[in-house]
């Protein structure tokens, strides 16, 4: 296969059961498969406990899979540790406190992100030329963070920290960007701001993105692919064309259709 025709990421029948063989046994992923083409922006929706977060954590490597393959650039990566997968992918967490190092300054956090997946040396941690690039990236957010490079991150609000995390995740172009309900813990204004910044950075470089969300209207409004997950399986995979016709109401209907069909079948 020619490299240009590879999917950005291929997920093949991944499965994961928590606490197997106990009363708490939970089949979180029951054979999830999909491909993301380069530049696709997929939105993942599903109810609580559907397996959305497990899927994202399995992709990032925080949760190992029991079986199945995750393939990037023709290489199986399902056994790679988190830090090795960071060469390929970056991530924005749900908790705004999670994506940044509080005790470090804004520019130190950015310098960590600028070297994602690279070897570190005993050279100085931040170079002068980098500072200009950091400023330019932060200016795009319109939060004034570009004038606060040497402020510690624990001085920032949740929305500011999440915006910074987003910049960090895209500072070095990832092959796959993982967004884990990254606006869910923010107030509506900050959420809108972070969402706007998200579409900007994703479109700017046509970044292949997987965004998990709880928010129906976000699922309708953003992205060009929609994956609905239920009980550890993809129950709806809508292409850009199908997705453009979806409304929040029709999405809920589709969900109930699929779920009740399955119940009848089983």
């Amino acid at each position: 296969m020619d490299e240009s025709t590879y999917p950005a990421i291929r997920v093949e029948d991944i499965r994961r059961t928590f606490h197997p063989g106990t009363v708490q046994e939970k089949k979180a992923l029951r054979g999830v498969s999909f491909d993301l083409r380069p530049g696709e922006f997929a939105v993942v929706i599903g109810s609580n406990g559907a397996g959305k977060s497990t899927l994202l954590n399995a992709l990032a490597g925080e949760i190992p899979v029991d079986s199945g393959r995750i393939v990037a650039n023709g290489t199986e990566i399902q056994n790679w540790p988190v830090h090795r997968r960071a060469r390929l992918m970056s991530r924005v967490f749900q908790d705004p406190m999670m994506g940044t190092a509080a005790a470090l300054t804004i520019e130190e956090n950015l310098s960590i992100a600028a070297r994602r997946g690279q070897r570190r040396s005993l050279r100085f941690g931040i170079r002068k030329s980098e500072r200009e690039a950091f400023r330019a990236k932060l200016e795009m957010l319109g939060l004034g963070l570009e004038n606060r490079l040497s402020d510690r991150v624990d001085l920032l609000s949740g929305g500011q920290r999440q915006s910074l995390t987003l910049v960090m995740a895209t500072l070095k172009q990832p092959q796959l960007l993982l967004l884990d309900e990254h606006t869910a813990a923010l107030d509506p204004r900050a959420a809108a701001l972070v969402m706007r910044a998200t579409t900007e950075v994703v479109h700017e470089n046509a970044t292949t993105t997987l965004m998990v969300t709880h928010n129906m209207s976000h699922a309708i409004e953003f992205g060009n692919r929609l994956l609905m997950i239920h009980e550890g399986k993809v129950i709806l995979d809508a292409s850009a064309e199908e997705k453009s016709k979806l409304t929040a109401g029709s999405l809920v209907d589709r969900f109930h259709d699929v779920v009740s069909d399955r119940m009848v079948l089983s």
Binding site: H83, A86, T100, A102
Partner: protein, 296 residues
């Protein structure tokens, strides 16, 4: 007046003593503050450094060689704690206790006996000051010069790519992994660095008192912690310079407080009790302040 003159008599020695303990205070600060990983190994690496140095001096090596080997031994001991913690998933405090317990035997093995006197050998003090090891104030000056060098190196290191990454791992492991940092190796390195500082402190201590003893580490962790907390209260923690300066300033001030307590007629054997109470109070202060605020 008598108290004041007693204190002034103690001043030069207490300054030198504070400077000696500044190294191990730095070695305690690194895990607690930079790595956010409480670690007790310094109680074992401090005498390890002393034992290694004393043994090498007695075997005819020069003090610089002794210090370098002591640093290497400290790195190994600190790294061992980290590996036990990471690979066997044992809490870091317990991992440290296991290592420091084992070090007790190892330190006696190194010396071949529980203590080694090095009165008759050249030390950094006899080589750089004068044949009798110098007056306390000149020892203090020499130690401060070494401390400045060590702090400068530490400041430089923590600003390199690897150093910034180390601080990032200490602040947020999940984020650091997601940014491609092999967090486990950084923790091994970080505790190794702490071990190096503590062992270096022990090796300096052995030369300062002209002997190494397997029990010289007892209580050293709390002295280091008390120094760090005291220093942080005095110089703050807002910037990295302050965080590095805090244990040094704290150690110097701590031994002034000790000197005053001794001048007031306190039994030296009561000092540990007081130090413990001090650390307890500072650790409990935020909680008590919160409770008081809630009662109002």
């Amino acid at each position: 007046m008598e108290i004041l003159s007693t204190y002034l008599n103690l001043l030069p020695v207490s300054l030198a003593q504070g400077a000696v303990y500044a190294f191990v205070a730095l070695g305690v600060m690194i895990p607690f503050r930079v790595l956010s990983l409480p670690d007790l190994t310094s109680e074992g690496t401090f005498p390890l450094g002393g034992a290694v140095l004393a043994t090498l001096l007695a075997a005819g090596f020069n003090p610089v060689a002794g210090l370098l080997v002591a640093i290497g031994a400290g790195i190994l001991a600190g790294g061992a704690t980290a590996l036990i913690h990471l690979l066997l998933k044992i809490p870091s405090l317990l991992a440290g206790i296991i290592v420091l317990t084992m070090l007790f035997s190892i330190n006696i093995r190194i010396m071949g006996k529980p203590n080694t006197a090095i009165f008759n050998y050249e030390t950094i003090f006899t080589e750089l000051l004068n044949a009798d090891g110098g007056a306390p104030l000149s020892q203090f000056a020499l130690l401060m010069a070494i401390i400045l060098g060590v702090c400068g190196l530490l400041f430089w290191f923590l600003h390199t790519e690897i150093g910034v990454a180390l601080r990032s791992v200490g602040a947020n492991q999940m984020m650091s992994r997601a940014q491609g940092l092999p967090t486990k190796w950084y923790i091994v390195g970080g505790l190794g660095l702490a071990g190096a500082l503590s062992a270096f402190g022990g090796a300096i201590m052995a030369q300062f008192q002209s002997y190494a003893d397997v029990t010289m580490g007892a209580g050293v962790l709390i002295i280091g912690l008390a120094s760090t907390i005291l220093g942080e209260a005095l110089v703050g923690t807002k910037t990295l310079v302050r965080q590095i300066a805090a244990p040094v300033v704290g150690a110097l001030v701590y031994f002034q407080v000790v000197a005053v307590a001794l001048a007031l007629g306190m039994e030296p054997s009561d000092l540990r009790l007081l130090t413990g109470i001090f650390v307890l109070c500072t650790l409990a202060a935020p909680l008590i302040a919160k409770r008081v605020a809630r009662m109002r």
